[in-house]
Structures are given as structure tokens and as C-alpha cells.
């Protein structure tokens, strides 16, 4: 194969990169625009918007392990449930204020992530990892169901009304602003993480684990990091979910939920933060709608995943990227 020069050598790489940086400021504008949503949405749409925020965070967290680290680890619902139940339990039994419970949810979720990573560290990969994480998730659900002294099992655990530093989160609008703040902060933090040596190490492990070790990168450390980060972020999403649904049920964290999360990652684009949000926006409304008809949810999500895999394997974000390179997500900060 002969040496080729690049088809369109940029006139000045630094200029192109600088203009990209300017264009990327668009992403900071979006949350500002979002502030206006409560003024135009009715109660139902507001609830949907809140659900979208929760699922955006879930998907962003999940994508770190599935997309960036590239491990088929389905412990997501376990983290989600851990976050929700931790929040509810601490608020009900220890009278903890909501925001503190959210932090606790992050910690517990992170611990769950650590546990899940232990298997990956022992060299378990691929199918084994998928199976053991699914098993982990189901074990957690069994625990929620049977530890009914604490969790009230299938009756669900009722959340006391959460408040944000004294402001009662009594309607969807207040919840929206709190959720928006949390979501934006965590998504930005995840983005910072990915655009650093940590993110590069994580993706390197995905792309070529043997070579990563040869560069002196301690692969175990970064596998743990990816899992713990994912667990913490999804744990916080669980805390938000608890405040959203006001009653925490074990059934919310079943295997069907895994499929929903999975579909969001695939539809949006694996390994992409923008994709995660897109996937959540596109698919959040649907679980709600389909829950009325038994079986439709699974049927629909199954078909969606099949279609995405066959026709748009890189997700919606790949379409956006064809339109403009501003949607490219690299792993360094300029």
C-alpha cells in the first residue's frame, strides 16, 4: 500500500481546532434555553422533561462502561436501583435531606460499580461479564423484593417530599430545575473526564488492551474508574428517579429496564455523550406509553435495537456528525 497524503490537508490545523472550540460553545447554550421549558410546558410535558433528564443521566453513565470502556456489563439497573433505594431508605429511616441522600446514592452506586469491576479485573470479559452483571442486577432486585421489612417489597417505598436546600420540590417545575442542575453538572464532569488522560486510557483499553499495558498504563485502575464513575452517575440518576416517581418499586429495576437503557445507548450512539442524551430524548416518552399494553414495550425496544444494529450501528449521533464536525467528541481538551 502506497503512502498517501491526507485528502484535504487543513490549511492550518490550529485554526480549525480553534473554530471548533468556538462552535462547541453551542452546547453551553442548550441548558440556558432549557431553563425556559417550564414556562411553555404543561404538567404532563414537564413530567416528561424530567424523565428525559433522568434517563439522559442514566444513559450517559451506562455509555461510559458500554461505549467508552467497551465492556458488555449490564449492571446498570443494579446501580440505578441502588441509587433509588439508598435515597428512599435514607430519607425514610434516617430523615436525611434529599441532596445529602443524592450524594449517598452516588457513593453507593460507586461502590456497586467497584464490585462490578472486580470481576472485570479478574480477567472476566465479554459474555461472562455480561452474565455475571445481569445476575448481579437480578440479585439486587430479589433483595429489594424480599427485604420487605425495609423496602416494603412490591408495595413500593414511599418517598418523603424532597427539598433542595429548603426549597420544597413539590411540583414538577421545581424538580425540573434541580434535575437540570444535577444533570448538567454531571454531564459536564463526564465530558471533562473523557477529554483527559483518564478518558484516553479507558478508550485505549477498549480498542487494544494489550497495547495499553505496553504503554505503562495500569489497565486495572482505569477499568475500576470507568465502572465506579458509571455506578456513581447512574446512582445519582436513581436518586432523581426516586424523586420523580415518588415511590420506589423493585419492578422498576428488572431486566426489561436493562433493555430500555441499552436501546437508548444504541439509538443515540455508543461511546458518545451527545448520543446518550439523544437516545434518552428519543426513547423516554415511549416506555411510558407502551407500559399500557403488555408486551409492546419489549417488542418495540427489541425491534428498535435490531434496526439500529442493522441500519445505523453508530447511532443517531453519526447522522449529526455527517452534518457538522462540531458533534465530534474527541478525547482531549484544547
Amino acid at each position: 500500500m502506497n503512502e498517501q497524503t491526507s485528502p484535504n490537508p487543513p490549511s492550518n490545523p490550529k485554526e480549525v481546532v480553534a473554530s471548533m472550540t468556538r462552535m462547541r460553545r453551542i452546547f453551553y447554550v442548550l441548558p440556558v434555553i432549557a431553563l425556559a421549558i417550564p414556562f411553555v410546558a404543561n404538567e404532563y410535558l414537564q413530567f416528561m422533561a424530567n424523565a428525559i433528564l433522568v434517563y439522559s443521566l442514566v444513559t450517559v453513565g451506562f455509555n461510559v462502561v458500554i461505549g467508552n470502556l467497551g465492556q458488555l456489563a449490564f449492571a446498570n439497573t443494579a446501580f440505578f436501583g441502588l441509587g433509588a433505594y439508598t435515597t428512599a431508605i435514607l430519607m425514610v429511616y434516617a430523615g436525611m435531606p434529599y441532596m445529602l441522600a443524592v450524594v449517598a446514592a452516588a457513593v453507593v452506586g460507586g461502590l456497586g460499580g467497584f464490585l462490578a469491576s472486580v470481576t472485570a479485573l479478574r480477567g472476566i470479559r465479554l459474555y461472562y461479564l455480561a452474565i455475571i452483571t445481569l445476575a448481579f442486577g437480578e440479585l439486587m432486585r430479589w433483595t429489594y423484593l424480599h427485604a420487605d421489612g425495609i423496602t416494603h417489597g412490591s408495595d413500593g417505598l414511599l418517598m418523603p417530599q424532597p427539598s433542595f436546600f429548603g426549597i420544597a420540590m413539590e411540583n414538577e417545575t421545581v424538580k425540573f430545575y434541580v434535575f437540570l442542575l444535577i444533570t448538567v453538572v454531571l454531564i459536564k464532569a463526564t465530558s471533562n473526564l473523557m477529554r483527559s488522560r483518564f478518558g484516553r486510557a479507558i478508550v485505549a483499553i477498549r480498542d487494544n488492551e494489550a497495547a495499553t499495558a505496553s504503554l505503562g498504563i495500569h489497565t486495572a485502575r482505569y477499568i475500576i474508574l470507568a465502572f465506579v464513575w458509571s455506578g456513581a452517575v447512574v446512582g445519582v440518576a436513581g436518586a432523581m428517579f426516586a424523586a420523580l416517581t415518588e415511590r420506589v418499586f423493585p419492578e422498576s429495576f428488572s431486566l426489561t429496564e436493562v433493555i430500555v437503557h441499552f436501546a437508548m445507548v444504541l439509538v443515540g450512539g455508543t461511546g458518545s455523550i451527545i448520543g446518550s442524551v439523544l437516545g434518552a430524548i428519543t426513547l423516554t416518552a415511549l416506555p411510558e406509553y407502551f407500559r399500557q399494553f403488555p408486551g409492546m414495550e419489549e417488542l418495540f425496544f427489541g425491534i428498535v435495537i435490531v434496526c439500529v444494529l442493522l441500519f445505523l450501528p453508530k447511532g443517531l449521533v453519526s447522522l449529526l456528525r455527517r452534518v457538522s464536525p462540531v458533534f465530534n467528541e474527541r478525547y482531549y481538551r484544547d
Partner: protein
């Protein structure tokens, strides 16, 4: 008492063994773990139900027809859904198989809703009494059939040309292509076989179990637990793992807590992967960095 539990456990475990074996067949032949397999087993059971109850066929012809239908479905899936994404990352196959399983499950639930369907008693074999121990007709029948299937399967795999071909393709696809084996047809064939065997499990389950769309998930996890215990990729291990799992469930359920029956499989998976990931007969699967 313990002996009775062990007998029941083996009868139950025979089904798990069959499911684990069919999963292993697809895995060995195509290196893909079919996460939708449980739902195919469920589909097999439902197809038999439809044929027997709605179409009115007797059990045995219905069983054969169901196996053929599922075999064809396996080939179709391989050709239509697995083959096109061959070029993508391996993780894609797992995703695809999960999704297809969900489509089947959702479809079944949409058609039958929340009903739980019973099949009429098919086996009219008298239970056998050995002192305190009872062998029910169903259990005897299932064990007998599974035993026969196992024998046939192992004979084919290890003694015939087909079996050699399977092993050849597994070890080197390129080599196999070079000696004239059509790998694509082979994969399709193997998906068909895997699903056909899964259908057999479903067919055996149908008469003794209540059918519902989530049947698949519970059998899938048992199949995985059996494979994990026996060692991924090991055919004998899959069978042994299945039997052991069946016994473990009955024993834990009786002596510890009946709620444990549901999660014995999960506990086995976690325990095996933590203590000895290779299982009983598997090769070491850990990556060393």
C-alpha cells in the same frame, strides 16, 4: 427425603442440561452466546401449545413440527440478522441476540397477554415407587428423552464427519473455508440446530409447566449458570452443570429457604466466576494483563 430431592433435582436439571447444551452448541459452532436462547425455548413451547390446543395435532407430530419450525427460524435468524452484522464488533452479536429474544417475548406477551397457559397432561406413565422415593411419570419421560438426545448428540459430534466439521470450523474458519466448507451455510445450520435443540427443551417443558412469556428468561439464566458451572464451551460440562444446578435448587429450596430456588442460579454464577472462573471443565478464560 434427600434422595427424593436429588431425583427431582435431576429431572429438573435434565431440562437445564438440554438448554445449556444447545447454548453450548451454538457457542462452539459460532463463538456467539445467544442471549435470546431462553426466549426461543419459550417460543418452542408456545408453538407446541398452539399446534396441540388450537390446531388439534397430537403431541408427537406437534413436537416434530415445532422442532422443524424452530430449526427454520434459527437458519432465518442467522441469515437475516447475524450474518449482516458480521463485520461489526463482536459485542454486536450479543446485542442482536438479546434484541431478538425480546421481540419474541414481547410478541408472545402481546398475543397472550397476562394469561398463563396450561397444557393438558400428555404423559400417562405411572409413577414408580422405590421405597420412599417417587419417580413421577413426567420426570421419567423427560430424563429418558434427554438421555437419548444426549447420546445421539455426542455420537454425532464426536463420531461423525459432521461433528468433525463443527470442530474444524470452530478452530479455524479460514482453514475450513480453504478446504471447501461453506462457513456461512454452516453457521446457519448450526443456529438451526441450536434452536431446534432449544425447541426440544421447550417441548419437554410444555406439558409439565405453565406457559408464560417470561419462561424464557428463567431458563436462560439457568442455562448460563449450568454453562458457567460446567465450564463455558464444554459440552459435558454443560450437561453436568445442568444436573448439578437442578439438584442444588431443590436442596437449597428445601433446607434453606424456598425463596432461594429463584436465585440459586444467580448465586451459582457469582460464586463460580469469583472462585474458579473456568468452572469444572472449562479452559481458563481470564485475560492476564
Amino acid at each position: 427425603m434427600l434422595l427424593q430431592l436429588i431425583i427431582s433435582g435431576i429431572a429438573q436439571g435434565a431440562i437445564y442440561a438440554l438448554i445449556a447444551l444447545s447454548l453450548t452448541v451454538v457457542y462452539r459452532a459460532t463463538t456467539i452466546v445467544n442471549f435470546g436462547h431462553g426466549d426461543f425455548v419459550m417460543a418452542g413451547a408456545f408453538v407446541v401449545y398452539v399446534l396441540v390446543i388450537m390446531v388439534g395435532l397430537p403431541y408427537v407430530p406437534a413436537a416434530f413440527l415445532a422442532i422443524i419450525i424452530l430449526f427454520a427460524l434459527g437458519v432465518a435468524i442467522s441469515r437475516g440478522f447475524i450474518d449482516p452484522i458480521k463485520a461489526g464488533p463482536h459485542i454486536g452479536f450479543a446485542m442482536m441476540s438479546i434484541a431478538i429474544g425480546y421481540v419474541l417475548r414481547g410478541g408472545a406477551r402481546t398475543i397472550w397477554g397476562r394469561e398463563v397457559l396450561p397444557m393438558p397432561q400428555v404423559f400417562d406413565i405411572e409413577p414408580i415407587f422405590f421405597g420412599d422415593v417417587v419417580f413421577t411419570g413426567d420426570a421419567l419421560f423427560i430424563c429418558a428423552i434427554v438421555a437419548v438426545l444426549m447420546v445421539i448428540f455426542f455420537l454425532v459430534f464426536y463420531r461423525t464427519t459432521i461433528g468433525t466439521v463443527i470442530q474444524a470450523v470452530y478452530q479455524s474458519e479460514r482453514g475450513a473455508t480453504l478446504i471447501g466448507i461453506n462457513v456461512r451455510s454452516f453457521h446457519e445450520m448450526m443456529w438451526g440446530v441450536g434452536l431446534g435443540m432449544g425447541a426440544m427443551a421447550g417441548i419437554l417443558i410444555a406439558p409439565i409447566s405453565l406457559l408464560h412469556p417470561d419462561l424464557g428468561a428463567s431458563f436462560l439464566i439457568r442455562g448460563f449458570a449450568a454453562m458457567t458451572l460446567g465450564g463455558f464451551g464444554s459440552l459435558g460440562g454443560a450437561v453436568l452443570g445442568g444436573l448439578l444446578l437442578g439438584v442444588a435448587e431443590q436442596v437449597f429450596g428445601a433446607y434453606l429457604n424456598s425463596a432461594l430456588i429463584d436465585i440459586t442460579a444467580y448465586l451459582v454464577i457469582v460464586a463460580v466466576l469469583v472462585i474458579r472462573p473456568a468452572g469444572l471443565f472449562g479452559r481458563t478464560i481470564a485475560v492476564r494483563m
